[in-house]
Point group: D2
Chain length 359, copies 4
């Protein structure tokens, strides 16, 4: 019930602030005997790491993860896995303006309203830096669901969408946008760079699917797989919308158009049917159907922009603010590894839950 933990059986708790000495996650409930070391986790952190292109924040963080517990002789022991990432490039020299006034669109005012004060350095706990902990925990989760393949990518930036007909999975790693459409990636260079130069920001949509999820994961009625995914994704910084399968588009279809008919399949595992469509995104009644689990996630443009905005000081006086410092012109891009991690974390939890109840 901790509000800083996620999951039921496969569960992680994160801690740490943007400009504290370190951030970390404690992963609990991991099955024993899985092969792991830092090298298994690091590539996922590297994918999320800032400062790798001019399209992301220039904060330089090596994001080196250390495993402090729960692993012995290269295998998980079943006890809590403590993961720690030191903060290196903090530059918290001058935060006096942020200390005194609230950045519009940021959590500054809300934190103060809730807690009475806040760690204002770099956004403190509300910084997207915390998502590194999610990615590290997600790398452990992937070991639990080795049968599942998870893939996320950006499908839209600043309103410009990929051409689904040009979807090329291999392309995703070839550009700084996790974009599966080379032509779109080319266009986005301009869109994001324009935003960066002008001190503006743009939004993005990230799509994710998980294939290899067997039918039967998920748990009605308040542990539904889609509800858990919705919480997992909506909880990522800057996310404002989540869709499963056809999402809002399904609301504009007729029942006939939205149907996912089935027929017998010779290829599926153990009598599993072939589905003729996947409008449902691989989930029915909160339980996986054996089809790929799919979701779409909307990232708002970051509120860290150079154009001054009206706001108030802690004392309630009118002022204006704009964001100095290093920021992402499009936070959705680095959201891709985070979306994948949250997908993995939800699925790992439901795999264990299903095994617990149904054997």
């Amino acid at each position: 019930m901790s509000v800083n933990s996620f999951g039921r059986l496969f569960r992680f708790t994160t801690w740490g602030e943007s400009h504290g000495p370190a951030i970390g996650a404690v992963v609990d409930g991991c099955p024993p005997g899985l092969a792991i070391d830092e090298g298994v986790i690091q590539p996922f952190l590297d994918a999320r790491r800032p400062g790798q292109s001019k399209y992301t924040t220039q904060r330089q963080e090596p994001d080196q993860v250390r495993i402090l517990s729960g692993v012995f002789e290269g295998r998980t022991t079943g006890t809590p896995i403590s993961l720690m990432i030191e903060n290196v490039d903090q530059r918290s020299k001058d935060y006096s303006d942020v200390a005194l006034a609230y950045r519009p669109g940021h959590a500054d005012y809300a934190y103060d309203a809730k807690y009475g004060f806040r760690d204002y350095r770099g956004g403190g706990r509300s910084s997207a830096r915390e998502t590194a902990s999610r990615v590290a925990a997600g790398a452990v989760a992937r070991l639990v669901i080795a049968e599942v393949k998870i893939l996320a990518y950006v499908s839209e930036i600043g309103g410009d969408t990929i051409d689904p007909g040009k979807f090329d999975e291999a392309e995703i790693a070839n550009n700084p946008f996790f974009c599966p459409d080379a032509a779109a990636a080319k266009r986005w260079e301009t869109i994001v760079d324009d935003a960066r130069r002008s001190g503006s920001s743009v939004g993005a949509v990230v799509e994710c699917y998980a294939s290899g999820v067997p039918a039967g994961w998920g748990a009605p009625l308040y542990g539904k797989l889609d509800a858990d995914l919705a919480a997992a994704m909506m909880g990522i910084n800057a996310v404002k919308g989540v869709e499963i399968g056809d999402g809002f588009a399904a609301a504009r279809l007729s029942g006939e158009r939205n149907a996912d008919p089935m027929r017998p399949s010779a290829n599926g595992p153990d009598g599993a049917p072939e589905f003729l469509a996947n409008h449902a995104g691989g989930i029915a009644g909160g339980i996986s159907t054996g089809q790929p689990v799919t979701c779409r996630v909307a990232f708002k443009p970051t509120s860290s922009i150079l154009t001054p905005q009206e706001t108030i000081t802690r004392d309630g006086q009118a002022t204006e603010m704009f964001t100095k410092g290093r920021h992402d012109p499009c936070v959705g891009i680095r959201g891709v590894p985070v979306v994948e991690a949250m997908m993995a974390l939800v699925l790992a939890d439901h795999k264990l839950l299903h095994r617990g109840q149904c054997g």
Copy 2:
């Protein structure tokens, strides 16, 4: 951690199947001393009740709620409130076809894949009938957050949207669609009736806002108010998408356009600012800002249609099915009281959580 419970401090657990003797909810964690009796809950159930117009299922259920515990001399005692609603109009005479094959788009196949068998009568546990329990529990939650006004309505049916310029709150109760735009309601009569006559179905979008929520409710990072709302809404039967504030539209805005500037306000409570926009939907960093909390929820068209669909039997043989029996041509309509209830339940929980931690 029960998958049939929702909430942390204000928490409810539901039970019951569509064609069992009754359904119910146990509401736990309710503050003591709140005035309550069945008459406080019944109006919300009446709003969700089927069979009230030709636009909803013709199943006739009085949906009379009984309070079995937790209330003494007209006040909540702080102990669990057991709410029970008897099933009356079950007609489970002939479910042999549903017993033998899987209705596409329904949870039939997923339940069998998970549990090995299922209560197939009327959808069993996966029936939307369960949402009556949510509505009953939500009526109790409203007592906890008396300072908050919650309002939901349908903004789109079958792709036809309301005209925001013609929004009239008073109109919502005047038509069978919870529609705030009289002209749209008129159009929807045709849309929904056409779907009903042809044995088809249409989707809908429900919008909900809660005003009067003070700044400070919500809990970073895995108990965020928006993440909890996302889970609450996505868990409702037939929901495929959830947006907070501008949702997916925010992904197409620039940072400047998406800003929610603040200025000092003489009218707000206790130094609270005036916001010049509410793209964020009243939530920043997972914590309420004092603005109205807003969300949009997409309901797919029900899969219960008269057009036969390919499917398989329990034995894995090919067959075709269409849905006999009484069903909603547009399940989103009756989703309105359910969306309101889930909003109330999330807010009540967060009010208590905030009070617990922050006094």
Copy 3:
């Protein structure tokens, strides 16, 4: 996290007051496919039922359980099992004295201090009547751990203990005290009847063991099997002490005397050792060892006695009270089926937890 629920994966929530219309339990997380009907549960309720001898309260309750959900065609479906027991013999005619003043040793004052008021009829929620719900839920739990045999009995009443050398399991069902020693049972007739006649009460110790528990159930460090048992037992009405294995006696042994040596065994399952002693009560490091899990539970004498005691009124005035009405001269006796139920509930939960994490 609900304070009216117990368990993690196998979880139950109880509701109801002593003199309300009914009490009940919602059992959640039960594996699907287990054969069950009311007849499977009723015998355990009958064992706990009051009014069966002159040594227990004369309240007459049939304690007939009804299954309202979660069961289809005689098997559990994996969805919540709602169990309800109607209250029949309530006699709440005259509770004016209890309404106005606090019975010493009862929860009256504490409930008022917490909630501001209370349902004073028959103790309301704090009545031992609620333990019927535990026994009903425990009967379901037993189905989950069919490999385990659970046995509880009274080993001491009013300071008079059984002779361990005369332990006869078959004797337990032959007397109204769940006593495995016929001679002790004879003596207890006098002890309890004397207490009853004089309007006094006596305490008791209940011992319980569970054999057939495989090694590996339990979960360090805050889900230890012994810690969960301690909570389960201490939470039963009137319980003031819990021991695992040798308990307090272990504190008086040397390390050599307290050792539980092992040696290879040809008979044990799958390489399991033979233990030469069981001081630990079948649990090491919070995890079962394969030996019988044993505990001892101390029940205080009920505070419902005829001798007037000093107390205060709700208004803070001095007064005296004694307990009218029907009460148990030795509540520990009827605690036996409750202790067994809690043992079953803890073990069922840990079986599923272990399966979830370790497969």
Copy 4:
């Protein structure tokens, strides 16, 4: 629901093994604004620290705690407080014997049975070293319940008890046994030293009371204050028994002798009564009464002794083992700060829970 976390609103999660690089705790749900730094926590760790007298293990650990998050400018921020203690004096050179065979009375066999293998160095996760994390978390909890005074002490070692008539609180800090009776402390020097010299071990009883707890903390029926305390104490390494108030002795009293009468008090807070006795240990119906909350905790003699014991190897072969290395001849002694910490942690959680539900 994590098995490595404890508490509901005030919650902590621990991680780490005896011979890993560090151990730690993440404290979540702490109210904001409490003054804290390492110096507030360190004295409690120093009290538990080994190697301070010849009566405890000679492992030398500075047990220096570091706060890694959740604190800003000397105050708690309301976000997770990550506490880390580096392991310094590990000496894991030679554990080959422990790796190959199971130490009787230790968790070795149980861990292997559960997880398939284990970190055998110094007991790994099952080592009492983990209790340092509890003590650190408990120091934070104390800040939340500043109105409460918690005091624990040893009342019995090796069967030799203190004289209650000679109880002197000031004496507790004057001897290496946390003993409130100077004469007993003198006797215990011999008892413990004899055990140490002969490679044996002795058990102990720790008593704890918390005064200043207002009436109304605790939560029926499965979050009872006494049940939570029982779980908290039974979960400490080597604990085999827990009593609240009179505990097992209450089972030997008559109802009249066990009564806790009340009368009006001019001195108590806000109409609180004066109690004439405290057999109940300050808890009725799972809720605090305003009297001191008292408990007794039995520690077994450690299983780490020099006398060889029969046991088996991982391969199931017969062998003998005795414990080399540094160990406590009486683990109960260092249990005193741990018992205090667990008391503080339970009370802090219940204070917040009560405030959450009842305002």
